[in-house]
């Protein structure tokens, strides 16, 4: 495994992007950083600029106005950068897939490394997902 990906599995800095979400997933992501779950003790930090991000957490149902912005943000992120689809909307656009203002699913737009289902996913599910992703990266896949 290259030094870059090795570093990715140590303390992950995450950047959050909402592409048209109802905000439930976004709040549950923020919940990870509050005392009960406290992922900061694992070195996971929520940062304000995508240029320092190791992982991008994407929520939302791929709203037409948000998708170009989301793509720009992905391009600005230093690679390697994992993309995590959080929540049913990011997985498949959920019940909004027939809407006139919703585009294709996330994994047709960006390369997704981790899918965390749920509406919204519990913080424990998100932690579980990240642990599995780190294990996968360490195995060198």
């Amino acid at each position: 495994m290259s030094i870059k990906t090795e570093a990715l599995t140590k303390s992950i800095w995450v950047f959050h992007v909402s592409a048209g979400s109802c905000n439930n997933c976004d709040i549950e992501i923020l919940d990870l950083f509050t005392p009960r779950f406290d992922v900061e003790r694992f070195g996971i930090q929520l940062i304000g600029s995508v240029r320092h991000a190791d992982a991008i957490l994407v929520t939302g149902a791929m709203n037409r106005k948000s998708v170009p912005r989301m793509k720009t943000i992905y391009e600005q992120a230093p690679k390697p950068c994992v993309v995590v689809a959080v929540g049913q909307c990011a997985l498949s656009r959920h019940m909004f897939k027939d809407s006139y203002n919703v585009c294709e699913p996330l994994d047709k737009i960006l390369p997704v490394d981790l899918y965390i289902p749920g509406c919204p996913p519990r913080p424990e599910a998100m932690i579980d997902g990240i642990v599995k992703l780190v294990a996968k990266i360490r195995k060198g896949k």
Binding site: R64, K65, Y100, N101
Partner: protein, 144 residues
């Protein structure tokens, strides 16, 4: 005088139909040309609170309902107008009366294509800038 009577007295023969659906839901309609004066009377004259406005594409025209809340009694007075011209639908904007109407009218314009004459800032609110011109999501396509 209760609110119903005050409205009937104030709007007089502008009222085309009056329908008391239930104790707290009163629907009445005026001609589209009278909308500004009617809303002015309801908002400024009677002090009712503007709650929301909904537009709908009906076969007979575009109907807009302005819902006003009389909070002291928990009643909603819904003012209905019908814009019969479906090719170039337009109506006077009530935004000059109170700023709470601005976003509401912008939304109806972009969803239904109704032109609100006199609106200070009629531009896109929700849809993307590259949304095609002339495509109004809430218009019905299969009805002639």
């Amino acid at each position: 005088m209760n609110m119903r009577d005050r409205i009937k007295e104030g709007l007089g023969n502008k009222i085309l139909e009056w329908d008391e659906r239930s104790a707290r839901r009163i629907y009445f309609s005026v001609d589209a040309k009278e909308v500004y004066k009617s809303v002015e009377f309801l908002f400024k004259g009677l002090g009712l609170r503007f709650s929301t406005a909904s537009g709908i594409d009906l076969p007979e025209g575009f109907e807009i309902i302005y819902h006003f809340s009389f909070d002291k009694a928990g009643e909603i007075y819904s003012l209905r107008v019908l814009i019969k011209d479906k090719l170039r639908p337009e109506i006077a904007s009530v935004s000059p009366l109170f700023r709470g109407a601005e976003w509401m009218e912008r939304e109806m314009w972009e969803m239904l294509g109704i032109n609100f004459k006199g609106h200070p800032n009629l531009k896109r609110l929700l849809l993307a800038d590259d949304w095609p011109e002339g495509e109004y999501p809430l218009r019905r396509k299969n009805v002639s």
